[in-house]
Every structure is written in C-alpha cells, then in structure tokens.
Assembly symmetry: C2
Homo-oligomer: 306 residues x 2
C-alpha cells in the first residue's frame, strides 16, 4: 500500500466556515484520509493533514487549493505568520511504499494543474526545487503576498508553473516533495544550558553535524533541565538512533546523562522500525513483517475492490 502525507497550509485561521469548506474537499474521498486539521487565529492560518494514495490525494489537494482561492482574498489577510498565497504551501511526503522520486513527480503534476487551471503561479520547493535558491521555503516566501507583485518580475523568481503574474487575490503557492520531519527532543540531567548548546552544536548540520538535523538548546526551567530540541528533516539519511547515540556520547564528556526523550506529533512506522532494527542488530527485517501492516494492505485492497 502506498501512503503519501500532506500537511497543507492555508491562509485562513479565523473564519471557521471557510476552513471547513476547504477540509470538506477531502471528506468521503476514497483513498484519502484526514489525519488532522487545525486553525490558528493569531497566525490566521490553518493546517490540514491528509494521507492518501497518490492519485486521489493529488485531486483533493487541487480541489482544496481551488476552494481556498475562491474563498480567501489575500488583500484582506493579516496574521503573524508569513504567507504568500491562499493555499500557501503544499508538501508531499512519502510515508510508506512510495519513494521521494515519485513525490517529486507528483508535486510537479499538482503544480502544473494549479498553474494552468487556477492561474496561480506555483514555485516548486525542497526536493522538487528547480534551482538551489528555491529549495528553502522561507527564501521563496520572502516579501510575502504584498512583495510578490515586484519579486515575480525578477527572472530569479519566475514561477515554475502558471502565469508570470501574481493571482490578484490568491497570491502564489509553493508545492514540493520533502521527507517526513520528526521533532525529537532529548532531555539532559543538568540545568546548564551551555551543555545542551554544545551538544546541539555537535549534532546539527549547520555547525558540522549530521546533514539532516536542526538542533537548538532549550531550558526547561520548571523541570530544572535542559533539552536538545531537534528537527530531523530526513530520518532515512540521518537516522534517530545514530543522532541519539552521538548525543549520549557527547553528554558523557560533561558527566551528564540523558534522562528521557520525546517525539512530538506522529511518526511513520518505518522510522521506529529502523530504531528497533538497529538496536536489536536485526539482519533482515522489513515493514512487511509487521502484522498490522499486512492487515492494512488487505483493508486497502478491500477498499479498492468496493
């Protein structure tokens, strides 16, 4: 069974009826399941987390973008979070049975449809980016909706799909394939934040650490602890177990112990299986050996046969 995830961001976090209409595009669609949706009125923004099979998921994402463009007018939009489009950003993440290369292709298909049918300029980002300066979403979004009317004239920022001018009310949209992001925090048995800082520095990419790790030091004052707080942006290439073992080693230098860890939000089964496989030294073990995975395959097939 193939499962792709998309936590799409829409620029509406105050009018619930609008968010509900966008979410409704994903309801009762065979092969697409709503994991979660939420809205934030300060950010004036909502996130709709879907999983699904490639084709129906892509249709739903297109329909949500279309609905957002109908109902959201960026000219009247204010909120704390930077934004550039009614459908602001649409990621595609391979969760199970799908490779990154497939998600990249899918992101281009979706971007093309949004550009051609909705007349919204689309920028491909992350793994789908067509130039290095477009990989980073925040670089694309710089200047936001209001600034894009000028920015889009710069050849550096010619859209990948759609017209060469900003949609007057729906702005521009970013679509891209990326890996699943895991938020992983490691608590250390000390109140010295400088130790967490040194360890964060040791593991994070920017200062010489693991390529797909972003890490900062955080003080948990109520607990009298410090924490290395991480975004693992590619658990396949910079795996949890390897980063965790490095943190434990580094902590030993300061006579400090790891006293616990936490993962925020949901994770793909594969990420946890790889941890178990590593520590148990399992020679040959895959997700197909998990009973529930087999049940899911059968359930999905039943659904397809309906």
């Amino acid at each position: 069974m193939k499962i792709i995830e998309s936590a799409s961001n829409f620029s509406e976090g105050r009018r619930e009826e609008v968010v509900r209409e966008i979410v409704a595009q994903a309801e009762n669609v065979k092969g697409v399941w709503i994991l979660d949706w939420s809205m934030d009125s300060d950010h004036n923004r909502s996130v709709v987390t879907l999983v699904g099979s490639p084709e129906p998921l892509l249709n739903v994402l297109f329909n949500m973008t279309k609905k957002a463009a109908e109902l959201i007018d960026l000219r009247n939009h204010k909120g704390e979070h930077p934004r550039m489009g009614a459908a602001d950003v649409i990621p595609l993440v391979p969760v199970m049975g799908s490779e990154m290369s497939e998600c990249i292709e899918l992101s281009k298909d979706l971007a093309k449809r949004i550009g051609e049918e909705l007349k919204i300029p689309v920028f491909l980002y992350e793994k789908s980016a067509t130039a290095p300066h477009r990989e980073n979403l925040s670089e694309i979004r710089k200047g936001e909706f209001e600034g894009f009317f000028e920015k889009i004239k710069d050849p550096m920022w010619k859209p990948d799909f759609g017209p060469d001018q900003v949609h007057p009310t729906a702005g521009v949209t970013a679509v891209g394939a990326r890996e699943y992001l895991i938020a992983f925090n490691v608590n250390l048995g000390t109140d010295k934040v400088e130790i967490a800082e040194r360890i964060a520095k040791a593991v994070r990419h920017i200062s010489g650490g693991y390529r797909y790790v972003k890490a900062i030091a955080v003080e948990l004052k109520d607990k009298n602890l410090v924490q290395v707080s991480m975004n693992m942006t590619n658990y396949k290439k910079s795996p949890l177990f390897r980063v965790f073992e490095t943190i434990k080693r580094e902590a030993q230098r300061y006579g400090v112990s790891v006293i616990g860890t936490e993962i925020i939000g949901m994770v793909p089964m594969q990420a946890m299986l790889e941890v178990a496989q590593y520590y148990l030294q399992l020679d040959d073990f895959g997700i197909n050996r998990i009973i529930e995975n087999r049940v899911m395959d059968i359930l999905a097939k039943e659904g397809a046969d309906r």
Copy 2:
C-alpha cells in the same frame, strides 16, 4: 481498532480440497482477514492464520471447526504431529487494542459454542485453562485421539465444555488465549556451541532466566557460528530488549560478540515499538502516534460503515 490473531491447527495436510473448504469459511467475511494458510503432508496437518475483530473472527473459527468436523475423520488420520481433534487447537492472541482478559472471555464463548452445538468436548488451555495441569497443550494432548476415549473418563480430564465423551470422528479440541509468540534468534561470533548453551541457560525460564523465554543453543555449521534460538512467549512481560541486553552481557564474559539477530515470521507492531521506545528512552509514546496505525483505524471504520 481491535485485532485478534488465531493460528488454528486442523488435522488435515494431504487432501487440499478439504483444507480449502476449511479456509473458505474465512473468505469474504467482513472484519476477518486471512494472513496465511499452509498444509504439511508429513504432519498431515494445516495451519490457518487469521486476524480479525472479535465477533466476526469467533464466528469464522466456529464455522471452520464445524467444517473440519464434517470433513475430517480422525479414525483414518495418520501423521507425524500429535493430534486429538479435527480442529486440533484454536489459539486466540491479542495483537492490538485487545487485552488478554478479553481473549480469555472470547475463548470461553467459542469453546461453549463448539461444545454445545457441535457436540465436541473442548479443553481450555494456556491463559484460559481452568486448572494448572491444563495450561500446557502437550499435557492435554497426551494420548492423542485414540487415547482420549479412556483419558476423558478421568475426572482430571473432564472437558470444560461439551459432552463427556469424545466425538467419534472429530475427537476433542483445545481452545485458549495466549500471548503472541516471537521466534527470536541471536547469532554469536564463535563456533563454540557450549557458549551458546551457557547463554541459553542464563536467559531461559526453566533454568532460572526470564519467565517467558524458551531458549536452546544451535550450531550453524555452514556459517561457522552458534546461535541462541528463542521462543519469546510473552514479549510484554519478558521483552525482547531486556533479554537481548542480557545475552550481550553474558556473551561479553566469553569475549564473544553478537554479530546479528533474526526474527522468524511476523510480529505485532507493539513489540517493535517497545524496543524503539526503550532504546530511545522515549518517555511517552504509544502506537497511536504511528501514522499507519491511524490510517488503519480510519480504513477499518470505513469498512464498518460500508
């Protein structure tokens, strides 16, 4: 979503059409999925592995038992594996969302139906056993079909359900709840089988080790290695990680390393998650945090709503 597993054993491993008719009772039943079925002509025995929701699964197990009783005549049955009934043994194993206590209740419901409606004496075994001498399946089965006509007269071996006399053709059946059994093998970087024997002795229940571990030493001559080969009969109470850590420690005494491990067959997601949770020192993490688990819940609900 609740998932219970049952790898039922039937005393037919030569007439494929008979086994297929038994398996057919599980086909196209909502809430029941066939993971696997196989037959062995030397043993003259077949195993049908199902998973399902409690109620439909129980119905299917009853119907398979009924079909086996119709088509199998133990008076004509010969095979290497000990057996006492057409449906020889029916285990119920909690895999997900179900507790052992529920499986015990279900096993009694099933035993009652088989006893009353099919007139087959039923013995509850393992966690469902009504006396300690009935916990062990091989104790119940001692004497086999032929011996049971005398054995059943002994008050020690009065059936839990059904008539006090052996069914003339279908014999007697054992039904019971048990934990999922994981076959876990650890390969050691030595050809000295006595080291594997000492380690097996250290971890197995019978010689003072972990309560739910059965372990033997095996020589893998083609690989020039030895192996500690284990049946983990309750991964919840004698978990894989703890037993594995003990084996690694014990191996150190002999200057030997663990060079790899293997798990035979399928495992519940929970067993692997507990390993990951232990080694990552995760404070608060459950199966509900796995994306695929959420998808499965939704798929199952869709199925139920059909």
